[in-house]
Symmetry: C2
Amino acid sequence: MLSFRIVVLPGDGIGPEVVAEAVRVLQTVSELSSDFELKLESHQFGGCAIDSTGEPLPSSTLKACQEADAILMGSIGGPKWGVNAKVRPEPGLLTLRKTLGLYANIRPANLASDSLLEYSPLRPEIAKGVDMIVVRELIGGVYFGTRKEQGVAPDEEVAWDTMIYSVQEVQRITRVAAQIALAADPPLDIHSVDKANVLASSRLWRKVVTETLKNEFPQLKLDHQLVDSAAMFIVCNPQKLNGVILTENLFGDILSDQSSVIPGSLGLLPSASLAGAPSVPSADFKPTSGIYEPIHGSAPDIAGQGIANPIGTILSAAMLLRYSLGLEKPAKAIENAVRKVLDLPEAGGLGLRTADLGGKVGTKELGDRIVDIL
Amino acid sequence: MLSFRIVVLPGDGIGPEVVAEAVRVLQTVSELSSDFELKLESHQFGGCAIDSTGEPLPSSTLKACQEADAILMGSIGGPKWGVNAKVRPEPGLLTLRKTLGLYANIRPANLASDSLLEYSPLRPEIAKGVDMIVVRELIGGVYFGTRKEQGVAPDEEVAWDTMIYSVQEVQRITRVAAQIALAADPPLDIHSVDKANVLASSRLWRKVVTETLKNEFPQLKLDHQLVDSAAMFIVCNPQKLNGVILTENLFGDILSDQSSVIPGSLGLLPSASLAGAPSVPSADFKPTSGIYEPIHGSAPDIAGQGIANPIGTILSAAMLLRYSLGLEKPAKAIENAVRKVLDLPEAGGLGLRTADLGGKVGTKELGDRIVDIL
Ligand SMILES: CC(C)[C@H](C(=O)O)[C@@H](O)C(=O)O
Ligand SMILES: CC(C)[C@H](C(=O)O)[C@@H](O)C(=O)O
């Protein structure tokens, strides 16, 4: 029996509440299976770690993450550790991404169920059928290039950042996008997004994406979009970008957040950040390390009330099984259970949706129902 | 009588058609007034200039633009001068912006009339009342920092661009945003957009915007948004950003295009690129140089058919009168005429809208009606 070590980082705000439900779901699929077992352990990360240790990413947490097969995260941050705080959670997040080499951020944006169409800010005829997966390069570009702060010599009145990409960095993220496109049947189209009419790093990006796909994945369809025009399409014609949106770190930050509001509630969407191509089960199989987390924030305003939507975290757990552990079957089972719960007719005024979707069900009850279905 | 010299750059595709109507509108307000006269002259710029002179921005055109009080532009580019062409129009545009010192790009996004709500990709209740003005820094940031292409020594496998801002560059664009906010009654709120949780240039941006407004315009309300979260709001709650969105070059490129699809047709929206704060009429009044153009592209697919929407260009002409020439009255008159035309009940199957808004009226007829109303 395969045994996997999963590190859990509940984080701040609603993080611990939503993570608790995803943990129950993982424990359930682990108990139900005779092929694998999951060993879960919790560690401190984010604002709570700042409070207890003075730093967002204590070395014991980093070490546990490095030794884990995969990491499930809640959400971090909050006003207590905001812009004016001396120590903030963000650097911890960026260090964790960089140290684990998590270069591939994967963010699907789709409506888990047509019954959710009414929550989209887009007209239903435009939102219906939206099915995009943003594949964002996560440890390169302007996030990790050299920079100079204002007030630093020689030119104190100036600040700058460097947006930098190497051929190898673009190749490897292109391969992840291609693997994801190929996992679908028929394979998904790839829309590469850049600003090649202005930026040198984008011209390199466009050239390397084009060549890598042509040489290694000639069966995939590729087009190129400028980031400004991609941002327009995501509002007025998102289906034009159905498939895989492949882009660099900063554009991916913007476009993945922009697309994530189409389904109407951030509470629904999962994400994965991987250190390599998704795992493919085989004899000499080795898990691909990754962090899995809902895309929503720590929502301190509703923390502790038991009303947060756990679905984004539960679907993140499904991605963890699929991408890090190569366990497609239990991943699909979780996704189907989520879809079922969302589509169940609302019963006796109780409803099967959390408050963000106009329902009255609590975090734990929703988790219960998903566990029951499994 | 004041006399102003206006350079007209019709450009490519539908550019000449839409510009022709805006020119008629300008000639009409000039004839109707005894206070000012407009002297218009046409020059080549863009793809048409590449075809006839080998370069997008011939020196005669640049010289005329430098001597003009203001510039009215159509649209440039097209597949003929696309990504693979040896000479492309974009560098001409960037040179023109830089040479004329056009550091302030102003892009309103609003629904000229509630009767257009049905064309918005957003749900009517979300689109209704959207009224944003993006003020984008246009000649700084990553567009004009040093860069290195792939294939250039020493590290040929790498390409980079520099996102750079100086205190003075951020001060002057902040002042323009403040002037625009103050021109409204009550003054508009300012939403400054950056990525200060990651970028040094954004931290400078945030600090300078905060200080400049606090010291020079303490009466204005300011908040700060991260670019990823601003991109979300523009889709799910754009009214949260009603007022002035003040941002740097690259973020402004993305967010202004994203907001521009809210009104349902790109054909409706104008833009201004200014070399200083908007002109304020006075005794020693000097026009502020600027380029005024619709935000839509050259739309080669419908060029020459006489069906393009001239409203974006006509509203750009109104901005020209207001911002460069300090002529508020004729600017307002044009804007009112446009609103009237859009709200006229459709008459006898003909309609008063162009094809992009589901109507049947041609470019010239729409221009006729606006001239009539004036
Ligand atoms: C918190 C911030 C540094 C981070 C980013 O910009 O990458 C966040 O926006 C994200 O997308 O995970
Ligand atoms: C053509 C391109 C260089 C330009 C830009 O990015 O500034 C365009 O997108 C614009 O916004 O005017």
